[in-house]
Each structure stands twice: as structure tokens, then as C-alpha cells.
């Protein structure tokens, strides 16, 4: 296990990068703690695969350094970094049995036979593959093959880190639940440093202790799932995490009061000295929007989607979209609907970045 430091790391696929837009990865520092479970989350094209390839050694960064436990590995090839990787599609030897597939990474490194037996047994037990250990991998379903891939990634005790690149894409929803909880269990048990790349917010949030959110080549927030939900550091985080994402409304701010159109919205604290000419917006998640007939800002309800355990109310406030989430049994008033934003959960964004109140700053 190792702590991984990325120091002033940046990457451009262009030979002589000049503009910021030439960088697939814009300069940043980041530390991955030893034994942490991390998710790397972002839309396709945000740079997460580039970053993963730099950590694994498949790609040398154009700028900056990578340190494993303080040792510079920037120029080391993948095989010298002692990292295990699990990919989107199963990587298994069809002609081998499940047991031999799982044992392969250990045999390759000359691990003693009795230890191989012990580890393979343990991993197979965890992945509920004990009954099929003697079967040829070729006869198994895609799901089972991907479980072998996961097992091969997890079988070595001595790796610096385990990298997962969208490992559950090909897996059925029901099995996803099971595999995710097993992965989490394995993490608790062996405390590997794990980095899990995905564009799926549910996977990222449920797997990780800390989520690294990337957008357009930048790390826009590193936080616990709760922090990403409660205080998105960037409007993109608010939009990308949550379904539907955070409501973002342009506003003017005066002390502890925001003005949206001609309506006033109380904030959780006062703001002072906002930069001149900057774009100011409030962000409030649909979970914190309450509907009322007496209290709040008047809206037109456009539609109500009943999705079983809750209802999504899509409304317009002076033409701006506002979504609200209601519990499954809640009534939606037929007319004269107003929306009320919970001030504690209403955030202020200045040029897309979270701005703290006077008390918080």
C-alpha cells in the first residue's frame, strides 16, 4: 500500500502547449492517502482516463511528478509501479480454470504455493465463486468473467494501489449492488489504496470515502459524498451529482438576501465584498425545495414525474427551470404554487465557484 502524491501535475497531448485549452489535464496537486477508497468522477472527455493512465504509468505526464510514498515514479513503466488494474471489460484466460486465473498474478511473482492457495480461497469466497473454482473460464457468463477480473485485481496483498476503470459497466443492476458491497467489504478488510474511475454518480458516491470530481481537465472538488451533496464547490458538481441536479438561478446579492428576478430569497448568512462584475448565482438542490401555496416564490408547474419512491416537480420561475423533489405521498397543489428554498441549503456561486458567507470564510 502506498500514499500517492501528484505534484504540479499537468498533461497536454499537444507538443508545445500554450493556451489553457491545450491541456487535457490542467495543473493541480492532489494526495491520495494510503488505504483510501477514492472515486474519480466526471463526464467523458473530462480527463479522468488520462489521469488514471498517468498514475498507472501507461502515460508519462508532460508536466509534474508522481510520488509513491515519497519516491518519484514519474518515469517508471507500469510493471515497475506494482499496481493492479481492473478494466471495463473482463480480462481473463478462457482456457484456464477460475482458480488458475485468480492465482496467475501471484504465480507470476513467485508467491509460495500455500499462500497462493490461501489468497485464492479467500478471494473466491468473498466473490462467491468457490463453487466454480475448477471450471474453465470460457464457460462462464460475462458477469462471472468480470468477477474473475475483479478477483485478479484484488488477489495480491502487496500492491501499491488498485485502479478500477469503470469495472461494473457490463454488470446487471442487481449484481452491481452485490459486487459494490463486496468491493467495499474488501476495502475495509485489506485497506488497499483504491481508485475507482466512473461516470456513474451512484457508483462513485457509494463506493468512495472521497470523490474527486473532474470537469474539463480540472479537479473541481475533492470531498466526501456528503460534502459534494451539501456544499458543491462548483456549479458543475451541483449539476453533475444528483438527479435532477442542483437548481442554479442568477441573482443579485445584498448582505444575507439574494434577489432572483423580482423575488427575494433569504440566505444562510451575510456576504460582503463580492468581486465587481462577477456572475452571481444561487444553487439549491431539488431535495431542499419545498412547495407551498402561501410561502416563497411563485412558479408555474410544467410537469410532475412520479418515479415511485419520490416525485420530481418541474417548474418555471420567470422562465427559469426549478426542480423540486417530493416524497412519494406528497400532494402537488393544483395552482398558485410557490417554492421555498431552505436557506441553510442555499449556496452562493461567484463565477461558478462556491462563495462562503462571512461567518464561514
Amino acid at each position: 500500500m502506498a500514499r500517492i502524491d501528484l505534484s504540479r501535475l499537468a498533461h497536454s497531448y499537444v507538443p508545445q502547449p500554450k493556451a489553457k485549452s491545450d491541456y487535457a489535464l490542467k495543473e493541480f496537486d492532489l494526495t491520495w492517502d494510503d488505504g483510501g477508497a477514492y472515486a474519480l468522477l466526471g463526464p467523458s472527455g473530462c480527463g479522468k482516463t488520462t489521469l488514471l493512465n498517468i498514475i498507472s504509468g501507461l502515460l508519462a505526464p508532460s508536466h509534474g511528478r508522481i510520488l509513491f510514498d515519497g519516491e518519484d515514479v514519474t518515469m517508471l513503466p507500469p510493471e515497475a509501479r506494482n499496481i493492479a488494474q481492473v478494466f471495463q471489460f473482463p480480462v481473463v484466460y478462457d482456457s484456464m480454470t477460475v482458480r488458475d486465473n485468480l492465482a496467475f498474478p501471484l504465480r507470476n511473482r513467485g508467491v509460495p504455493a500455500d499462500e497462493i492457495d490461501r489468497r485464492v480461497k479467500e478471494i473466491a469466497e468473498m466473490l462467491e465463486m468457490t463453487p466454480v473454482l475448477s471450471r474453465k473460464a470460457s464457460n462462464l457468463t460475462a458477469d462471472a468473467k468480470q468477477k474473475i477480473s475483479l478477483g485478479r485485481g484484488l488477489v495480491r496483498a502487496d500492491v501499491n494501489a488498485i485502479l478500477f476503470d469503470e469495472p461494473l459497466t457490463v454488470i446487471d443492476p442487481h449484481l452491481k449492488w452485490l459486487l459494490r458491497s463486496q468491493l467495499k467489504h474488501l476495502h475495509r478488510r485489506f485497506a488497499h489504496t483504491m481508485i475507482y474511475v466512473t461516470h456513474d454518480q451512484t457508483e462513485a458516491l457509494t463506493f468512495a470515502d472521497k470523490v474527486v470530481v473532474m470537469y474539463d481537465g480540472e479537479v473541481v472538488q475533492v470531498g466526501t459524498p456528503h460534502e459534494l451533496f451539501q456544499r458543491p464547490a462548483h456549479t458543475f458538481v451541483g449539476y453533475f451529482i444528483g438527479s435532477p441536479g442542483m437548481n442554479v438561478l442568477p441573482c443579485r446579492v445584498d448582505g444575507a438576501l439574494a434577489t432572483v428576478g423580482s423575488h427575494q430569497v433569504p440566505l444562510r448568512g451575510g456576504y460582503r465584498a463580492l468581486p465587481q462584475g462577477a456572475k452571481t448565482e444561487i444553487g439549491v438542490r431539488p431535495e431542499f425545495v419545498r412547495l407551498s401555496r402561501t410561502d416563497g416564490l411563485p412558479v408555474q408547474v410544467e410537469r410532475v414525474d412520479d418515479v415511485g419512491r419520490f416525485r420530481v416537480v418541474k417548474a418555471r420561475l420567470d422562465g427559469l427551470a426549478v426542480n423540486a423533489l417530493l416524497p412519494e405521498d406528497a400532494e402537488v397543489p393544483a395552482d398558485g404554487v410557490r417554492v421555498h428554498f431552505d436557506p441553510q441549503a442555499t449556496n452562493l456561486y461567484v463565477d461558478d465557484h462556491l462563495w462562503l458567507t462571512e461567518g464561514e470564510a
Binding site: A142, S243, P244
Partner: protein, 363 residues
Amino acid sequence: MTLELHNVSKVVDRETHIRDVSLRLERGSLNVLLGPTLSGKTSLMRLMAGLDEPTAGRIVMNGRDVTGLPVRKRSVAMVYQQFINYPTLSVWENIASPLKVAGRPRDEIDRKVAEAARLLRIDRMLDRTPLELSGGQQQRTALARALVKGAELVLLDEPLANLDYKLREELREELPRIFAASGAILVYATTEPAEALLLGGHTATLHEGAVTQFGPTLEVYRRPHDRRTAQVFSDPPMNFLDIEVRGGMAWIGEAVVPATGSLRGLADGDYTIGFRPNHLALAAGRPDAIALSAVVAVTEITGSESFVHMDYAGCRWVALAHGVHEPAIDTEVRVWLDPHRFFVFGRDGRLVAAPATAAAAAA
């Protein structure tokens, strides 16, 4: 137009892929095929399209038997999970191809391609080739091609599965609207219950090649006819427990309580209760909620909600609770079951009682 399947089965190498399916799909309707991988969604779509011929049963379009009729003689368009486009042709040529094959006049092709590209928001990409597009734009190109065809039957086989989460959210909202305007019968296959609920329309749940239920989507969700359907239409998975009812009392795990909620009035006997993860509470609720002790297996936190996986009497359950809850693994946790939220199944798996709110909604 209507599409009817009468007792359709498909057997390949003595293996049954589709088992005695009967369905009637109406003009302009949206129909979701919901089921896990290998439950028969793609096989059923291929039979509907005429790409495969059924082993038994009949397929009737607009009252005409088309059972043996090949796909090219039918009015069908299909879009797959993998983006399929002609890599060397431009986006414009990709979308135009079915119209060119049909020998339509140039001005009609121009008009239809422009309109489809506008609806799918790729009108600025028309000169590019598919490989110069993002995954979402490539799939929009395939969808636009299906749209210009003006087919009476449009089959979408997990069309958004390979796209980013947020893109999926957007397209999922647009797609039914775009195709509804064409009056086609839209059939949409997915493995995800949440996607079925967001799409609405009608849903057919599939299990091992058989349709277990077909009806308005919310009705199937709220009143699954049997345990299989409830299982297929629940993510996270529904929680189950075998119980006993005798003389107005219910034996639920370690608890013996008066039979209230969905259990009220049940004949003496053995049942299985099912309850959704959001109805397995980590805090006491109604006075007649049933308290049990389970052992925590793992917890997952999404930020706004927590999933607590637990073991109870040999069953794996999951609770979905608001806020952050992180009970320690392998410790006992107190949970509350609300009998008003129970689905009750007979030991044969048939639904005996459903939550009262659901019954009212279905009535």
C-alpha cells in the same frame, strides 16, 4: 397501427429464449421492456422486427399476419446499445441513408435530415464523420437515422446504456417526445427500473424469456402481480421475508404482532412479505411498525442518502434512508418495518395484498 404478439415462443438449440409471449402494442404508445441481461429483451425485439422468426405463435401488424415476413418488408427501425453508424460517411449521409435507399426525392431528404438533426441537436455536426463525435452525438446520429425512416415500429435496445449518466438523463426525457410526434409504436429495452419509471408509458417485465406482467408503468410498479415482477421492478432489490399469519396475528421474524396494514384480514397461512428499501426504516415510525434486529453487512452513502445492507435470518436486506447513517459493520442494528408498506405474496409467489395507497392508485 397496432402490433400483436400471440403466444410467441422462440427456441434455439433446444434452449427457450422466448416463452409464450402475448402482447398488444398500440399506435403512438411507449412500451418499456424491463428485465435483467438474458431475460429475453433483445430476442423479443428481434422477433418484433422480423430479424428472427418465432418457433411458435403469430405476429400481427395492423391486423395482418406478418409472422414469416422478413425485416426489409416491414416498417421497422432499430437502434442498438453500441452506436452503429457508417464510419466513412458524414453525419448527414448517415441520417439520409434510409431515405436514399427508399429513393426519396432530394428536397424531401434535405428537409427530413435537417429536421431530425435539429430535434436531436446534432444540426451543427452534419459535415463531420461519426468518429469525430462524442459517444452521445454518435448515438444521436443513429437515433436520427431511425427517426427519418418514419417507421411504424421503432425498437430501441438499451440505447442509452453506453452514455454518460447526465447525457442519459437528457436524452431519456427527449426521446419519447421526439418519437411520440411520429406516431410510431416505440419499444424501449432497459435493465434499469428507474429508467422505466422515468420513461412512463407501459412496461412489460421479463424474466427468463417470459413476460410476467404488462400494464401502465406505475401500475406494474405499485401492483406487481407476483414476486418475480416485484423483483425485476425494484432497484435496489426488494427485501423479502417469509412470515406466518394465524388468527389475526402475524409471526414476523422474532416479532409476533397483530396483523395490520397489508396483513389485515389475511387468511391463516404462510406468506412472503416484500418491502422496498425506502420502507425499511432505521428509526421508529408509526406505532404499529415492527422492530427487528439485523446485522450490518456494509453501508454506502450517496451524499443525501445511505444504503445500509444487512442480514436478517438468512436474508440480505437493504435499507435506503435519508441523510448519513453509518452503523458499524457486523454490529446489530434496529430496523422498523411498516406493515402498511408490505407487498404480500402467497407461497406460490402470487400477489395477495399490496400497500393501500397503491391499490387506490391502481383502481
